[in-house]
């Protein structure tokens, strides 16, 4: 069977909105267009009912209650609200936050701003699989620590962090625990009470929902978490995030979360099988390829592979009918490869040689086989063109050459 090109295999970036989600959203653009904050007519009531249902659907995915869901424009805003909001609210308690090196920029750049505003942030290093461990957090905690922020799963390498250990440690120490669960939610089980999370960032478009909507889970009891709002206005969302709610997007988010909750077990099995088929299809045929991230504790659909002696962006051109991402940053002025791979201790050379494959709900076995064959063919072709490969074949140790950095 011929596959349809281009093939989308970049599901850690975004996902296609599920047609069932689109279906659920459509009436809220047209006949059900009310403002959910309009309390005195049926248009408002109808919109409000839809929003409340979506809240419950999203809460259901993470073992929370609907009242603990604060809608935001996306996970970046949710993370900004979690960190800045908690830092400001609990300023009297202390000025210290703990996070780790491979967080998303939404977390790292928010932490940088907090540092400029007088807070202190500890950035924990990760091990070679990209994990931080509870013991590291324990050692970094001080009596001035307000909050710990560790992502549930990494967006580049798919590594799952031991957030249950970390969350429970935070509970024991009375420190707030935030987790960016954008990549994990709907892919691996996540229960806020089991994990001990007080704040959780989620995004709809990573789970087959629409772009432009996300939420922050804010724990309501044990403890009741309070946040300094970052956007002031009409007092929506328990005063934590003002602004008219985008009802169609919220309905879509709710529908996506509901589908994810109901189909996660089956779907994860399927995406895991496809990912393994892809990984083996590539790595069993090509020597000197390396899986970045944790071998087992990783997102089911993620494979981040380095291909020695071949530059990632060059490879992407060779497989241009397949949408993937590269850890190489040859397009940027800095020429710096992925900070995530660097944090793992992957050498710059192999970081430049990495490709992230993100398999999702809509990928097929035929697509996976097509991609594996294409990658094997193109890597072999590019290696024949690579001076590094040639040198290694001649027995030259390319690490010993004094390269002139440019």
């Amino acid at each position: 069977m011929a596959v349809k090109l281009p093939i989308y295999m970049d599901n850690n970036s975004t996902t296609r909105t599920d047609p069932r989600v689109v279906e659920a959203m459509l009436p809220y653009f047209t006949e059900k267009f009310g403002n959910s904050a309009s309390r005195n007519h049926p248009f408002g009531w109808e919109a409000e009912a839809a929003v409340e249902e979506a809240r419950d659907q999203i809460a259901g995915l993470i073992g929370a209650t609907g009242k603990e869901v604060i809608f935001t424009s996306g996970a970046t805003e949710a993370t900004n609200l979690a960190l800045k909001g908690a830092a400001a609210m609990y300023r009297k308690k202390g000025n210290h936050l703990i996070t780790q090196a491979t967080e998303h920029k939404a977390t790292l750049d928010t932490c940088k701003r907090l540092e400029r505003d007088g807070y202190q942030v500890t950035y924990l290093p990760v091990d070679k699989h990209g994990q931080v461990h509870a013991e590291q957090v324990r050692e970094a905690l001080t009596d001035r620590t307000i909050l710990v922020s560790i992502m549930a799963a990494n967006n580049e390498i798919g590594t799952l962090h031991p957030i249950r250990d970390i969350g429970r440690l935070c509970k024991e120490k009375g420190v707030l625990f935030h987790t960016d669960a954008v990549q994990a939610a709907g892919k691996v089980p996540l229960d806020v009470n089991d994990v001990g999370a007080d704040l959780v960032s989620l995004s709809a478009h990573k789970m087959y929902g629409p772009k432009g909507i996300g939420c922050l889970y804010v724990r309501k009891k044990d403890p009741r978490v309070r946040l300094e709002p970052q956007i002031d206005g009409g007092g929506h969302e328990r005063g934590m995030r003002s602004g008219t709610l985008p009802v169609p997007l919220i309905v879509g988010f709710g529908a996506a979360a509901d589908l994810a909750r109901r189909e996660m077990a089956e779907e994860s099995k399927r995406t895991f099988a496809l990912r393994e088929r892809l990984r083996k299809g590539i790595m069993d045929k090509l020597p000197e390829t390396y899986l970045n991230g944790h071998p087992d504790e990783r997102l089911p659909g993620n494979a981040n592979i380095s291909f020695a002696y071949v530059e990632g962006e060059g490879l992407m051109m060779g497989i241009k009918d397949v949408a993937v991402s590269s850890g190489s940053a040859c397009t940027s002025a800095s020429l710096e490869p992925s900070y995530v791979l660097r944090a793992l201790g992957v050498g710059d050379e192999l970081a430049h040689s990495s490709i992230r494959f993100g398999i999702g709900r809509f990928n097929t076995e035929e697509e996976v086989d097509f991609v594996a064959d294409l990658v094997v063919r193109e890597v072999s072709r590019l290696r024949e063109m690579s001076p590094l490969y040639e040198m290694v074949q001649q027995g030259i140790d390319i690490r010993k050459i004094e390269w002139a950095a440019h």
Partner: protein, 138 residues
Amino acid sequence: MPYSDKILDHYNNPRNVGSFSAADPTVGTGLVGAPECGDVMKLQIKVNPVTGLIEDAKFKTFGCGSAIASSSLATEWLKGKTVEEALGIRNTQIVEELALPPVKVHCSVLAEDAIKAAVKNFQEKQTQPEPQTAGAAG
């Protein structure tokens, strides 16, 4: 980022991929860039000792599509030139020919550096009787 048809053509059908023996006294080898920067080019010229013309050129490149295209194009342009003429090839000409976007200009700079390094290596061989292998420069 959209790539020009010329970049894609050189990437898909690279000209003059390969190697000459670096020990050959008529061969000049330039090796520029660094793996940790994501770009390494090896460019070689073979000079006819009678005519003084570059009769053949070969390359191998580790890098993005634009780097591969820049070095492929450079080998095409080198053939039939004297080494002095080769030194006249400017990266801006490569940028223009391939319609390289601004973020890829460094690929053309690397190709120009590779040409210069290959010529330098060739010229050193002409003044020194001992054959040399090329080291990295750039």
